[in-house]
């Protein structure tokens, strides 16, 4: 029998912790807990969890500190918990290396979906070279031949649209911030703006989605970025 997946939960509110621990236990995870930045530092020195669930508002400091310290040495996936209306905080955390976020209040379905995706990506990264063929929902990408098929029908994309879709498909299920997408598609210093990204995204939606104003796969996370849904 393999060891259970360990999740480090860094959250100061005891009720929230109680709910999360109970839920995670019932889904077969092992949970280790910390309620402050200091406790998290001690915990993460002693344990090597498979994933960190990190609340950004901690009593003795910013959850971002925990994230930044961790990222100095570890690639452990991190999912941050944050409140509605704190989009800037989420973007900062994501750009600082967090893998995804959950906006409080969240349901158990959403929680499990985020954890699943983050854990899957962490395992994928540890493996060999990324696959040359990607499949997300009805979308199939052939990275070598630069071909895209949606619902069995070939779709013609511009090179930038293809690159954008490929980046999103590599991170399928995960949110990618505007900045992460711009960097991945145009390079670090391209100076492309969020606006350019939005224009290409709109064009991509028109080619991939059945109803671009009601996207099934290419979801917008307002103020944060985009996510290619994978379920």
């Amino acid at each position: 029998m393999t060891a259970p997946t360990t999740i480090a939960l860094v959250e100061d509110d005891p009720q929230m912790r109680r709910y999360l621990v109970a839920t995670l236990h019932s889904h077969g995870f092992r949970v280790v807990e910390a309620a402050s930045v200091a406790a998290a530092a001690t915990l993460l020195r002693a344990e090597t969890p498979d994933l960190v669930l990190l609340d950004l508002g901690l009593p003795d400091g910013d959850g971002l500190e925990v994230l930044r310290t961790l990222r100095l040495t570890q690639r452990t996936p991190v999912v941050v918990l944050s409140a509605r209306g704190r989009e800037a905080e989420k973007v900062t955390a994501l750009d600082a290396g967090a893998d995804d976020y959950l906006t409080k209040p969240f349901g158990v379905g959403e929680l499990m979906a985020r954890l699943r995706v983050a854990l899957r990506h962490a395992r994928g990264e540890a493996g060999v070279a990324p696959p040359r063929r990607l499949e997300v929902g009805p979308i199939q990408l052939d990275l070598d031949r630069h071909e895209v098929v949606v619902d069995g029908a070939p779709v013609r994309l511009t090179p930038i649209e293809f690159e954008l879709l490929a980046v999103l498909a590599h991170g399928a299920g995960r949110v990618l911030t505007h900045r992460q997408l711009v960097r991945a598609v145009w390079g670090t210093d391209a100076g492309e703006t969020t606006h350019t990204l939005r224009v290409h995204m709109a064009a991509l939606r028109r080619k991939v989605e059945r109803e671009p104003a009601r996207p099934r796969w290419l979801a917008t996370e307002p103020g944060v970025g985009y996510r290619l849904r994978d379920e």
Partner: protein, 491 residues
Amino acid sequence: MSVAGTRAPTARRRWALLAAVTAIGATTAVGLVAYRWVDLADLAMLYLVAIGVAATLGRAPALVASSLAVLAFDLCFIPPRFTFAVSEARHLVTFAVMFGTGLTISTLMLRLRAQEAHARRREADTRALLALTADVRDAADRDDAAVAVARRLEEVLGGAAAVLLPEPDGVGLVPAAGLAPLTGAALEAARRALAERRPVDGVTAGVLAAPLIFDGVAVGVAVLQRGAAAPPLGTDERGLLDAVLVHGALAIGRATLAAEARVAELRARAEELRSSLLSVVSHDLRTPLAVITGAATSLRDDVARLTPQVRAELLDTLVDEARRLERVVGNLLDMTRVETGITPAREWVPVEELVGAALARAAPSLGAAEVVLDVPGELALQVDPILFEHVLVNLLENAMKHGRPPLALAARRAADAVELDVADAGPGVAAAAAPHVFDKFFRGAAAPGVGLGLAVVRGIVAAHGGTVALVPDDGGARFRIRLPVTDGATP
């Protein structure tokens, strides 16, 4: 008007004297050459011209030129020549005329020059006062107005000016403008000027402090440090000082009143919001909480007695009420932000994307309800995407709560604006309620909620420079957002 260095005038005076001497010397030389051919009267004329020229340079050159002319004329030309003896009494008259001419011309010149200097100074002063008026009109607050007053004081009177404003307790003084540090004597003068409400001048040499009186209240003190050697202020300068003080007091007083009014208004608004909040908290937060408590305790304590059907119903209730609570809190937070003033972070966003995000977030409220979309793919808006998502979500949720599906969401480019319509197929808004739908805490008949959704919509749209209105429709309610688009501003 500044008493800048005395070196230049001295040099100029020296040159003027030299010119006077030269003029008379040259005239004498010409006279000696021409003596044979002209008579004495002509020579006297020649001297008068030279004196006239020298007299335009000032009083001293005039006197020097007249004296030299008299001496030279007498010595070289009046018989017996080459002695200072005067043969006839009429020559004495010539001498008197020479002196008189010099004095008269120089006096006239001096007066003219004084008038010119005065006019120039008046012009500069008027300009400074006008500039002060413009400055204080543009002043955003008390400190701005104080800075303008200090700057103009320095400009018109020289020296280092400062403006001090009384602290809220009415006793202390806080420096609000002025670059030079205040000496102890200047501070003392300022305190006295404030306490006695009259100018304090010359108690310490070169320091002047005057209160700024607005509507009978000392709203500040202006202090001018001109250095111990500075001459006392003249009548003109006093008048100017008074003018600056009056304008300055007006500006600072007005800014003070405006600030007080703003604070009072904010306080009134906060008070209004607080009292409304109390009623909201007591009812709209407690009701869902009561339902949640009831359902949850029932599930915990009576689980054996509940049929699976009832259990499922209770669980649904729990989730629904929790969502309702979240909506109420979200709208309360949004309303607070709208009330305290939001600055939208505007970006160009395709309307399609805004609509897509809003539909996704409103999905729990929309359920299976049909939403008919008419959104052109190329249409974009310059808005804050997060705030605008709230606008659309609130309109959709409002339509679900008060109207009936199918809903319709349409966007189009009008002449100089983009219009966004959210409509439903319900009974529409009652005529009596129509004028109030956007009011804070106004709620439609028999509808649960806080009555903030549409107020938030209006607040956010207004922060974007747009309008939202209920427009007449055959069927249900139709809300229309209009956002002006300046031409050429499309991406």
